[in-house]
Each structure stands twice: as structure tokens, then as C-alpha cells.
Symmetry: C2
Subunit: 479 residues, 2 copies
């Protein structure tokens, strides 16, 4: 027990300093490290394994819905970036520029893609000729660079990994349907795999993607009551098609502009997982995406038969689960317990000579910290149900947290008071004007996270200016 | 038949112009397209699916041999690149430089990684402390940029995709073993999955990787008799460890430098697949990595029951194979046959009203262009064995080609005469000196591909200078 404390004290309590808690976890659990260039991160094997599991699930879902993967170049000529006015205004200030290739200065600067609309549109204009070529449903897994001033690993980094889907359609309706289909896919993924409850909705004009007609967002609430934009889907109308001349011949032989979408989720979501579920012992990973679902820790491993039993169990469980055994000689069981709790492994199996004699072992669950005894005959079955229970319980714990941190404001006074004292979602009525949006940001640093699909009629008037309300919105301070 | 010719004539014959044949195939089979920036490529869905299949197999093999994936930053400060002298001399002339981030010029130029030794070594120096931290066995799937003057899609492009493994070991012997283990893994992969026979061996001093102590290469011979370096594994000794100060405390408490390896295979291998197997009808893909293994083409698809049968077969075969049905109304069966031959799909199923009546269908194999009738009851079983037969036969066809294009030279005269008339591997004895190596390049544009593991004693004297021979080598003109 002493040892436990010894070890855990290295982790800052989240109630004391949430930012420090976050940094402690990502470094100590070896998810990530700082790179030699400011703002860049190294994703270490444990963090990357999380990303691989996320990729595997999403890639399957994208393919099941008819999308194929492709790869477009890293570098984009400045002239292409400049083609869509709103887009370049949004991105130009934060791109990295390549000005020299090999021994020679370049005639035209190339930017490292901050996102790939402009390069992909250029190719689409070349590929699409008739309605038979539509829809085009492509996705790309790639790295992008955005020169950020304030960075934090996973949450905001100058380089990050993501997927970006880019689709072309014959009609506005089809493109809108695609945007919403993927929006739903992201929300389902967050709920079912990451155990993250989310709010689905549309971004305000101010907050939407540079160049989009509409942006839909999946918003999650972190443990400290701040919101995280977790995945976005954009409907472009035919803005980009017009700028890049992406036309097709319709069934009547007439030339038409295509309608377009793009959508993405990034390594940022790993920050979301950490801050949704983690506690003062460290990470807490949802079983469905945990790199290790079960860790086996031997007790008195020097005793005869213990390590053999551990190896036997690992072999048996490996068929169904992602399992590891921790047989390090130089560490005590207590040290190992802490280590794997820090790493957020959902289930721990403890087994020693006594347990083996009784044909049983102890199961420890990371979400509630509870222990139970289970007969070795029942082990596989119990681990399977336990992982499901943990997955579900983690969702409910996160949902509880979200509910606890959701408030209603009916006046500016109420609104500012909430953010003076608390962190969380605030539901309020909004007139729809930019002035009110700017005002809450100025006064409280909070922003409109989204106009949710499920609006409640809290009032008839805007909470900020008192004019007629158009929408209910969720606001929050954000990452 | 007419239609066949109509279609195929668009493809340049490889005997007429091999380079044009290659370009025709990659563009018409929609593997790739040219990007707006010279030397960069867009990998289209069909080409990317090939890469995904390659990735899936290799990734599994790397993990089975204890390696884990991680991700290191895209951008490397100039000062880091400069740390290992030979390495920077090799790479500096071909890197792209970022000089501006957002609105501001950078204090120090950053290069886009041409390979990641320098950034990874920097992190390893931070992570490794004692012998317990060793070995470190990491791999990265990433894009890299090398500013090439002459480019050709897949074979040599300014940006390409690859994997780069980077490992650290306590002893030279362990690192050497790792290098050779991966070298063997690559060779097995090429043989078993890509149906490519390869020569395994060591690069000469002149041809080895910049900064390596030894480079091992897997060399394949293309249809035109030119060689392609397909995958390389490097043993670094402790050169990089010394430059980057990667030290560990050994069991006796003494500080030691680590020994290191790196190894990689890239999208270049796709060019190798095309040029090893393709013919004048187009691509020919090895079944184990073909994105589509079986295509079903209906005959008289407007007739009752045909499309239903096609759908039924697709459902049944999909459980075991990667299958597609081509039910395009606007194309004739003949057009479709050519289209899928061009795309290199190993097996085609043809089925029409008559076949359905007889409970049979026709199987066409892309490798030999032969057809056979098979009962629908036997279909799954026959497709499975046929795919295996094709995989094996493609290997043998490629091996035959390699044998046919392998020559022996015992004098400079014989040597130059071979390259005046032919293309292929030349086996010869070599004294080991740089002068002879430079001479054959100057006279014939051929280079030493490798010193093979299995040397034959062709003679006692160097074929070029007549001095005492040290090694037998394979030489060739190369991609």
C-alpha cells in the first residue's frame, strides 16, 4: 500500500492542476514525447497503438459505406491554395512554407498541406467528366501541418495525423446526405468505441470551416468541464467546384458543377479520450480501443508453477483479447499494479500460488477499481462480459459528468455568473447574431459549440440581447 | 475480338517502348496520376489498395517479430541533420527546406524528412538509459520527401510512402542479426506475396546507405532486364549512437554506445510488381496482394436471372476472396474483359444464361490467359486452388525471365559486349576496388547490385582488372 502511494504521488491530481495532470499522464504513460521542434510531438508506441485501433475501426466503417482510400501529395503550390478565397484566408496564416528543393530555391512557394481540399479538387477537376463518374467517395490517412502558436500534445500540435474524406456528388441533396451520414458515423464511433457521449449539431457561421457552407461537429465534454471539438463534417455546396472548375455532364448532356463534402477526425481525439475518462491514477481506456485489454500480473512469481500458469492463461486469453503478462523480475506486484493502472488497462488479472491451488484468480477492473474472484474455468467468459460492462459503465460515468456540468442560462447575468464559478456546457437561446456570439467570448472566453439537432425551447428570447431567439445553442470554454 | 484489339491498341507494346508501356499501364489502370507539383504523384484508389495490402502483410510480420509502430515528426532541424557527417553528405543535396512557419521566417531551417535516422536518434538518446531498455524495436509508416531531378511514378518520386524500422541493441552481434533477420523477411515477402524472385546480398561500399556500416539489399529483375533495388536493411554499428550520444548502462554498470539498424521498403515496390509481371495486356497482379482477386462478368446480363446469379455468386465468394462484379450496362463483355485484364485481376468468372442452365461458369486466368469450365458446385474450391496456382506460376514465370536474363562475364570485353546487346544481370568476379566499379558504370551505365550471399567461384581473377578476385557480384543497369 505504501508503495502505491509512493508511485501515484508523481501524478498531479486533476483537481489541483488539470493541465499538469494531463501532461503528467501523457508523458508517464509514454503516449507521447516532445520533439526537438517546438509544437511537434513524437507519438510513442503506446499512443500510436491507440491510434491504430481507432484507425482500424473507422477505416472499416468508411469502406463499408463505400469509401476508398487514396493518397494525395504533401505539398501544395501557393497558387492552388489561393483559389478559394475564404479557404486561403482561414489557412494561409498557419501554413509552413517550403521555399527550397535540394540545392535550388523554388520558383513558387509550396505549402505543407494544412488540409487537402485544394490539391484534391485539382485532381477531381481532371478525373470527373460525366454523371457516371459520380459520386466520388475518397478518404486519405495522412499527416498535416498547421503552424500553431500554443500547442499541447494531441490537442493542438503543429503536425498531427488524421483522416480526411473528400466526396463529390451530382446534387446538393446527395452531398448534404453524405455530410450528415458521416457526422452520424463519427458520433456513433465516439459513443460505441470511445465511450464518449457527444452533442451533435451545426457550427455557427463564425465557427464553421473556412470555405464551407455548413459544418457539423461532434462535441465532447472533458472532465474539467471544457469542450472538445472531436470530429467535423463539412458541406461545401459547389463553392470549391466553382473555384476549381469541377464539372460533369448530367444525364441531359448539360454541364453542371459538382457538390462536395469533406470530413475529418484526428489524433486530437486521443486527448479527448484521456480527458474524458482519466482519473488521478492515470489513464482509463475504453476496452474496445485499448491497446492492452487485459494484463496478467503474477503474485510471488518466483514460486513454482506461477509463471507457467501465467503463460498458459496468456495463451488462452490471447485468442480473444489483447493480453500482456508483466513478468518483470525487478518490480513488485504493487509497482506493476500502479504501472498498468496509469496506462489505463481495463482489466487486470492477479494470480499467485494460493489462487492456482484454488483454481481461481482475481480480476481487477480499472473503471471502478473493484476486485472479484473468478474460477479459472470461467475466466474467458467472465473477461468477455467484464470488458463489455466496463465499456458501458465508462460511457455512463462520462454521461453523468456531462449532465452534472450542463447548465442553463436565461440572461447575460446568469450566463457570466456560471462561467465565473463553473466550467461546462451552457444551454441558452440565441438570436443568431454575431454580436452576441462575440460578446460571450469577450466576457467569458466561451464560444458557441453548436446548434444541436435536438433543440429545446428554453425561452422565446436570446439570453444575451433579449431579442427574438432563433436557436438553442450549447456553449462552453473549449480546447 | 475486334473490340479487344480496339481497346488494347491504346497500350504501347513493351517490346516497342518499355518506358511508355509502363506509363500507359499506371495511368490507364488508374494506379496513379501526376500531381500539380513536378515529381509528385497522386496514388489513386486502385494503387493505394495495393499498398494497403502490402502494408497489412508487412505490418503483421513486423509485429510478429516484436516490433511496434510509432510516429516521429515530419520536420527535422538542420542542426540535427548535420550531426552524422556521411549521412548529411548523402541526403542534404536532395531535401526540401521549410523556411517559413505561418507569418514568420524561421530561425533555423527545417528539412522535410528524407529518412528519419536523425530525429529518431535524438529521441532514442533521451529514452534509453540501461540495458533493460534494450532492444528498442520500432517501425514507422510515413511519407518522406527527396528532391529528385528525374522522376517516374512509384519508381522515383519526390514524395513517397514507406515504412522505416529503427532498432537499438546492446551488442554489435544482436544488431547484425536484426539486420539480417529483416533482410530475410523482405526477401520472403517478395517471393511469397509478390511472386518476385530476388537476389539477396550486400551492397558495395560505394552503393551503401549514407552513414551505414553495411547495407543489405533485395534485388529484383524487371521484364526489360533492368534491376530494381526493392528493400534495404542497414547495419549502422555505433556510428549514429556516437553522433547522437545514445548510451546505456550495461549489466556491470558501465556506459556503452548502442548498436543500431534501420530498414525500409517503399511504394517503389509497386513499380517492381508492375514491371516484373505485366504484359502487353496490362497489369498482372499476384493473387495474394491483388485488390480484386476475382471479377465476375455477366454475359447477356439483360436476360432473366443473370444478374441475380451474379449477385448470388458474389455473395458466396466474398466470404473467402476479394470479389467484384462488373454489371455496367453501357459496356460490352468484351470491353469489360479487357478492362479487367488491364487491371491485372488474377481470375475472371464469365457467366451467362446458357452457363446458368448447365450449372457451370467459365474461369479465365490472367497469368496464362487460359479458360476452363467449372461446375458451380465446385466454384469456391476451384477458385481457391486456382489462385494458389496462379501465385505459384507467376513466381516461376518471373524466375524464368530472371534466368534468361542472367549472364556471366569473365573479361571486360565480354562484359561490355553483354551490355551492348542485352539487359540483365551479369555475374562476374570482382577485386573489390572502387576503380573497377567506376569503370563498368562509365562504360555501360551498369552498377554492382550486390555481393550475393551465395557466391559462385566463376574465376580467380577480377573480370575488369584481372587482379585477384575477392567476390562474385551481380551487376545490372538499374531503376
Amino acid at each position: 500500500m505504501n508503495e502505491n502511494k509512493e508511485f501515484v504521488k508523481d501524478l498531479t491530481d486533476m483537481e489541483v492542476d488539470f493541465a499538469k495532470w494531463y501532461t503528467d499522464i501523457i508523458l508517464k504513460a509514454e503516449l507521447v514525447d516532445y520533439a526537438p521542434v517546438k509544437g511537434f510531438m513524437v507519438i510513442r508506441p503506446y499512443g500510436y497503438a491507440l491510434w491504430e485501433n481507432i484507425q482500424a475501426v473507422l477505416d472499416k466503417k468508411f469502406k463499408e459505406t463505400g469509401h476508398k482510400n487514396a493518397y494525395f501529395p504533401l505539398l501544395i503550390p501557393e497558387s492552388l491554395l489561393n483559389k478559394e478565397k475564404e479557404h486561403v484566408e482561414g489557412f494561409a496564416p498557419e501554413v509552413a512554407w517550403v521555399t527550397q528543393g535540394g540545392e535550388n530555391p523554388l520558383n513558387e512557394r509550396l505549402c505543407i498541406r494544412p488540409t487537402s481540399e485544394t490539391i484534391i479538387c485539382t485532381m477531381y477537376a481532371k478525373w470527373v467528366k460525366t454523371h457516371k463518374d459520380l459520386p466520388v467517395l475518397l478518404n486519405q490517412w495522412a499527416n498535416v501541418v498547421r503552424w500553431e502558436k500554443t500547442t499541447r500534445p494531441f490537442l493542438r500540435t503543429s503536425e498531427f495525423l488524421w483522416q480526411e474524406g473528400h466526396t463529390l456528388h451530382a446534387t446538393a441533396q446527395e452531398a448534404q446526405e453524405e455530410t450528415l451520414k458521416i457526422h452520424q458515423l463519427y458520433a456513433d464511433f465516439c459513443k460505441e468505441y470511445l465511450a464518449m457521449p457527444v452533442i451533435m449539431g451545426q457550427k455557427s457561421e463564425k465557427e464553421k470551416f473556412a470555405g464551407a457552407e455548413a459544418t457539423y461537429t461532434v462535441e465532447a465534454l472533458m472532465h474539467d468541464g471544457k469542450a472538445l471539438q472531436s470530429a467535423t463534417s463539412h458541406y461545401f455546396g459547389n463553392h470549391f467546384a466553382k473555384a476549381f472548375d469541377i464539372k460533369f455532364q448530367d444525364k441531359d448532356g448539360k454541364m453542371q458543377y459538382c457538390y462536395q463534402t469533406s470530413w475529418g477526425i484526428s489524433t486530437r481525439i486521443i486527448g479527448g479520450i484521456i480527458m474524458t475518462h482519466g482519473d488521478n491514477r492515470g489513464l482509463k481506456l475504453p476496452p474496445r480501443i485499448a491497446p492492452t485489454q487485459v494484463v496478467i500480473v503474477p503474485i510471488a512469481q518466483h514460486k513454482e508453477g506461477v509463471l507457467e500458469k501465467v503463460a498458459e492463461l496468456e495463451q488462452k486469453l490471447k485468442v480473444h483479447f489483447r493480453v500482456e503478462s508483466d513478468t518483470r523480475k525487478e518490480c513488485s506486484p504493487g509497482y506493476k499494479f500502479n504501472d498498468w493502472e496509469l496506462r489505463g488497462v481495463p482489466v487486470r488479472i492477479e494470480i499467485g500460488p494460493k489462487d492456482i491451488e484454488n483454481q481461481e484468480c482475481i480480476l481487477f477492473r480499472r473503471d471502478t477499481l473493484e476486485k472479484e474472484k473468478v474460477s479459472l474455468d470461467e475466466l474467458e467468459k467472465r473477461v468477455a462480459t467484464l470488458l463489455e460492462e466496463i465499456q458501458e459503465n465508462m460511457y455512463h460515468m462520462a454521461e453523468e459528468n456531462m449532465k452534472k456540468h450542463t447548465y442553463v442560462a436565461k440572461s447575460l447575468e446568469e450566463y457570466t455568473q456560471i462561467f465565473d464559478e463553473k466550467q461546462g456546457y451552457v444551454k441558452m437561446m440565441w438570436c443568431g447574431c454575431r454580436e452576441c456570439e462575440d460578446k460571450i467570448k469577450e466576457l467569458t472566453s466561451s464560444t458557441i459549440r453548436c446548434i444541436p439537432f435536438e433543440e429545446e425551447k428554453l425561452d422565446t428570447k436570446c439570453a444575451i440581447c433579449g431579442k427574438e431567439a432563433k436557436h438553442m445553442v450549447y456553449t462552453a470554454r473549449q480546447y
